[in-house]
């Protein structure tokens, strides 16, 4: 840890968010260096989705700041749309566009938001689909695909604007267990290719395996962060310990994270 840390790609400073006067995010400080993969864990209702939506400038924040490549960005910016192109987000519920084919889903943002020619946009979409093993589904409509395939299309769609950071919000929670593996595999290879990712997840084994850093969120606060080994092996905060104990007792005989 002697070398100076590289400048973060994305940085959240003192981020606070209220819904109806209730503090849902309470002073979040979090930054991701280039190529870093950070997993957000925490019980449901702890604020993971809200954090990702705020970081993606999909919602205004009440205090704090968001920095992308060192520049401050905000929901209220005139060029917030431009900033969103540099951030990719994938939702739990896929949210594919049902009236467009798989190829059109992926090509839409390059064509419309990046103003690529239709041919160039389509070429980029085809390459992405191919790299995610979806080439032969390009002409299908989303509702003809399995949940796992739909979620991988959503990942391809989010990558189509060549974002600097990919935000993923429990993207396997709506999937049958048998389909979870293929989506996690996709994320793993994205991590290997150097994609910077912030991943909210309940898949502890996956988090332990793929993350450079784990952040435990509770009640809108970042309670503890550290390497997977440290967080899963020897959590310091009693709240983290309690959460992990509960998670392990639920997952029961399944291979627990961090041994």
């Amino acid at each position: 840890m002697a070398a100076p840390k590289p400048a973060p790609v994305i940085e959240l400073k003192g981020l606070k968010k209220r819904y109806d006067g209730r503090l849902v995010l309470d002073g979040i400080n979090l930054s991701l260096a280039e190529h870093e993969v950070v997993c957000l864990i925490g019980a449901s209702g702890s604020g993971k989705s809200t954090l990702l939506r705020c970081a993606d400038l999909l919602e205004p924040i009440d205090a704090g700041s968001i920095h992308l490549d060192g520049a401050r960005v905000a929901f209220e910016d005139r060029d917030a749309d431009e900033t969103r192109r540099k951030l990719g987000i994938v939702f739990q519920g896929f949210n594919l566009f049902p009236h467009l084919t798989v190829l059109e889903n992926v090509a839409l943002a390059p064509r419309v938001a990046l103003s690529l020619t239709p041919r160039a946009a389509e070429r980029r979409a085809k390459e992405l689909l191919k790299s995610l093993g979806l080439a032969e589904k390009a002409r299908e409509y989303p509702d003809k695909l399995s949940g796992g395939q739909q979620q991988r299309v959503a990942i391809a769609r989010a990558l189509a604007t060549e974002p600097k950071v990919l935000l993923l919000d429990e993207i396997t929670s709506a999937l049958d267990p048998v389909l979870v593996a293929e989506v996690l595999e996709t994320l793993r290879s994205l991590a290997e290719s150097g994609m910077t990712m912030l991943i909210a997840t309940h898949e502890m084994a996956f988090a332990a395996d793929v993350a450079d850093r784990i952040c435990y969120l509770e009640g809108g606060r970042l309670v503890e962060e550290g390497s997977p080994k440290r967080i899963f092996g020897s959590p310091r905060d009693p709240r983290t310990k309690e959460f992990l104990r509960r998670v392990r007792s639920i997952s029961g005989g399944r291979r627990g994270p961090g041994r």
Binding site: R84, G88, N95, F97, H99, V112, A113, D143, A158
Partner: protein, 267 residues
């Protein structure tokens, strides 16, 4: 072909319909004044003599509702979009659109036709047209743009907000998200209610007769006044039915198809 139970159902339906029709015909036909009424409303001679003039005047109605519809479809969409604007700076636009819709949906059409069709030309402003056809067109466009904008708005709101959010997350502007994601999905859902309003518009073209436009209803009234026989009015009614019934069936078919598509699709 119809199988056992379906065939039986069809037979029962046919039979009961015939019985009811016979009862109605008997009741009406046996009333002492029926011969008089029949002569006044359903006289074959007057039907055939009135048909050419009434049908020709109907081309005015057709012109009116086609031109009106071509204006209503885009204007209604613009009003719907104006009402869904959230930018504070453009609030006046939203407020104006809301008042517009409330007003033209809330006041009886016939009053609006009177006020605009007689009132505005009476102002004798320079450059303001005086032709009744023009004012008939303007009133129908205003009234139906208000109705149609509500149809569009309901269609836009029927698309789940997560769709717009997914589009915005990709970096599309609000307008682009509406243009490429929300409106195309909303459009399919609004076709049946749009056609319904279109049928209403066709019928309401008869209302502009009060401005002196000699469209089919006015023509029928003229013939009725000349002959003291109501049959020309029935001729007009028949012409309207010939146009509107197929459209009504089309609306039903499209609506049923849409229901099936939604049941068949996922989520």
């Amino acid at each position: 072909m119809a199988t056992g139970p379906a065939r039986k159902g069809l037979l029962v339906a046919t039979f009961s319909t015939l019985v009811v029709a016979a009862l109605v015909a008997y009741t009406v036909g046996s009333s002492p004044a029926w011969p008089e009424v029949q002569k006044a409303f359903f006289d074959g001679r007057y039907f055939s003599t009135s048909l050419p003039a009434v049908a020709e005047a109907f081309t005015i109605n057709i012109r009116l509702f086609i031109i009106a519809e071509l204006l209503i479809l885009p204007i209604g969409l613009l009003i719907a979009l104006a009402r869904s604007i959230t930018a504070p700076a453009l609030a006046p636009l939203r407020i104006f659109a809301t008042i517009f819709v409330d007003f033209f949906r809330g006041v009886p059409s016939i009053l609006i036709i009177y006020v605009l069709g007689f009132g505005v030309p009476a102002l004798q402003l320079d450059g303001v047209p005086k032709e009744p056809f023009f004012w008939a067109l303007v009133t129908l466009v205003l009234i139906y743009s208000a109705y149609v904008s509500e149809v569009y708005r309901a269609g836009i709101e029927s698309i789940h907000p997560s769709q717009e959010r997914a589009a915005r997350a990709l970096g599309l502007t609000r307008i682009q998200a509406l243009r490429y994601v929300v409106i195309p999905q909303a459009f399919r859902r609004v076709i049946p209610p749009l056609l319904n309003d279109f049928i209403g518009l066709q019928k309401d073209t008869a209302l502009v007769s009060i401005l002196g436009v000699v469209e089919t209803f006015k023509q029928a009234q003229i013939l009725k006044a000349a002959s003291f026989n109501f049959t020309p009015l029935m001729t007009t009614a028949l012409i309207f039915l010939i146009i509107t019934i197929p459209m009504t069936r089309l609306v039903d078919r499209l609506a049923a198809k849409d229901r099936n598509a939604q049941l068949g699709g996922t989520r």
